[in-house]
Subunit: 430 residues, 2 copies
């Protein structure tokens, strides 16, 4: 049947659990790899992507053809499409990961205890990480590279419409792992587009240590609500810029433009502007001029200054617009601004513009967000910009990681103790 439609399940029937077990076994090997061995493998993966370029582009062409036939929107087609240039970027990203410092094996300050034992904490891999994503096929190699460098196995489950592309990328990575005598199961791609496999995967708490979902809110909520494994995620970024009464208004305008205009569709873009009433009459007209083309939505006090602004709703304050809309609110004081952030913020990224040091200190201490910035753009809320090297995801919940996650967030620390025969001998009572 040469023209039968290709199925998107591989012929071999391997259970999700068996695949996860295989990945866990492989992860034990990766955990013990030297930094040099891991870096050699990352360079081999980059080489393999380049060597497999034709196969990857051919698989991607099939994915694109099927997506076009399904009337996929152009923006999604663009995200799906691979080009020689994009493959080169994926290879370069793997080489960059090789250049990052290896977090594994580092022992922090060792302390001698009164008992005589010497106690340190050694950074070790988490084990097996499951990545569930709807994004471009480049996530397949990016996530594999970061998890591998941190000594972990990774189980990848990409979007159905990129199934063939993801497999072609994984094939290249497997060739590279084999060429370095490493188990290809360290990078395991689920061989099916069946959503049931996700449900199975996120139940396997004996084999998988962490689940990172990346995609739409529906996917993330599904994973979070059904997982028996810890999930690190963020739902959305409702980021505020608070222009304090002591703000430098030129800086406020620059940060507003950067936060709203430079890339409005990303999670660290601004959604709401809060302006202290003492500077509202001066700043709001500046804001309106700076944001030409952006719809401003405000309450009565805002519209008294900016009559062209449309009326804001309660939902607007909760919204991640991801486009040319900005909610605006004039606040009576610092407390009203931070109360608004408590009510509507998403614990993602919050910015204050002020030259008044005590106010800056209060905001830094008090605002509960994974990234709090004083006089700097919300767009710096990014693993690379914050110095993490690369970013595997962002957490807006506080367990394990809060904010952009780099290689270190893919590891944990164990206690390591050196002694010379010390015993406790106590028989204390609990």
């Amino acid at each position: 049947m040469p023209n039968a439609p290709r199925t998107t399940t591989l012929a071999e029937e391997v259970s999700t659990e068996a695949l996860a077990q295989g990945c866990k076994q492989a992860a034990r090997v990766v955990a013990q790899c030297s930094t040099a061995a891991k870096n050699r493998a990352l360079h081999a993966m980059a080489e393999a992507l380049r060597a497999h370029e034709d196969a990857i582009l051919a698989a991607n062409a099939e994915d694109l053809q099927q997506a076009r036939a399904a009337d996929t929107p152009p923006a999604l087609l663009d995200r799906l499409e691979l080009t020689p240039d994009r493959i080169a970027q994926m290879a370069a990203a793997l080489q960059e990961v090789a250049s990052f410092a290896d977090p594994v094996g580092a022992i922090d300050a060792t302390r001698r205890r009164p008992s005589g034992i010497e106690v340190g904490r050694m950074r070790v891999p988490l084990g097996v990480i499951a990545m569930i994503y709807e994004a471009r096929p480049n996530v397949t190699s990016d996530a594999a590279g970061l998890c591998f460098k941190a000594g972990n196995g990774v189980i990848l489950r990409g979007g159905s419409n990129a199934f063939r592309s993801n497999h072609a990328v994984a094939d290249a990575l497997h060739d590279a792992l084999r060429s370095e005598d490493l188990p290809p199961e360290a990078v395991t791609l689920l061989p099916t587009t069946d959503r049931k496999a996700i449900t199975e995967l996120i139940q396997l708490n004996n084999h998988v240590d962490l689940v990172i979902p990346r995609g739409g809110e529906g996917l993330i909520r599904f994973v979070d609500e059904n997982s028996r494994i810890p999930v690190i995620k963020h739902y959305k970024g409702v980021c505020h810029l608070y222009v304090d009464r002591a703000a430098n208004l030129d800086i406020a305008r620059d940060l507003l433009m950067d936060g709203k205009l430079s890339r409005p569709a990303v999670c660290n873009a601004l959604e709401t502007l809060l302006v202290h009433e003492d500077v509202a009459a001066d700043f709001l007209p500046m804001a309106q001029e700076a944001l030409a083309g952006v719809e401003l939505r405000g309450g009565a006090r805002t519209r008294a200054i900016l009559p062209e602004a449309s009326e804001v709703t309660e939902e607007d304050y909760h919204a991640e617009f991801l486009g040319p809309i900005l909610a605006v609110k004039v606040v009576a004081d610092y407390d009203e601004a931070t109360d608004h952030i408590v009510t509507y913020g998403s614990n993602h990224t919050e910015v204050i513009v002020t030259d008044h040091l005590p106010t800056a200190q209060r905001f830094t201490r008090e605002v509960d967000a994974s990234v709090v910035l004083v006089n700097a753009s919300s767009r710096f809320s990014d693993g690379g910009e914050l110095g993490l090297g690369a970013e595997i995801g962002i957490s807006t919940t506080k367990l394990h990681a809060y904010g952009p996650m780099g290689l270190e967030a893919l590891t944990t620390q164990k206690f390591v103790v050196q002694g010379a025969g010390e015993t406790r001998h106590d028989v204390d009572t609990l």
Copy 2:
């Protein structure tokens, strides 16, 4: 009806969710407390425990009477009983927590990025922590003190048989909080012994940030399987002592005695002895002599040396005996020892005795346990002994915390950024 049986649900019908919301509100106040204010409150709590001694002992007497009527085993009655001395210890523990360094607000090394922004990470409270426990009433004040010092609200759900005692302790803590103008809801005790309240509590992922269950495996498994909130727990401690061929056998004997005899019922006690075959004929008789009164269970190789040993089963290798039984295995080499630990270990605590440096290094790096010790007793696997000051629990899973957890494990880190008007302006592609 003066003689009607006391119900164990308080009169006011307040939903678990409303209580959690109240605790979350109070937690925001505690999060902003200065270290001095928190320490004053901890001293006030200690004072209040002493001042409420009569009420606490009276409530405890009622709990004890009911427990005796229900034929509660003596060991449990002992755990339940409070005495003036035990109340004094609880007060002293709160004062000790006051003396610990406050983790909140510390900013680690701040780095200047190429963009000009200065990036640091500030330690902040987790928010609201739910403690679900079956232990002594002292856990009520111990857990409250630690969570409070780390800037968190805490919701306590103690064992049903200590309901009145726990309430009397909480009443004292509430008096202290009120006297310091702090919201008593920061320490919230669920006002019911209905198990349904636990089920409700562990669903409240909008209000509670972390659940720590302490108690029997059944309770922990129930919480873990039903929680929508991250759970930090350990099920059991199956700790091994591996006596390497290069071991100092006197040290091995000392660590064996300390690990098996000093307090066999705790989770860092030893359950299995692994002995390298080259030293088995010398060491096993020493072990048998040192562990008089302990039943040794071994395989054929062990029993060839120790004919009195009984036959070991597969279940014995998985068992946390919590009493005078020790599984014993003669292994051919290091790999057989560590393979055994991979198969039967609980990621809790593992010990090697060796004078051979490369073997010690391998064991330290390779063994996947939250605490790995070289030539030191497993009994040092304890928050206080490892230098954490106090211990709120032990984690044998790797997310957020691995091993004994102190105050720092009750906090997280947020990014704090100082700028001078920096913007990104880039329009890179994701």
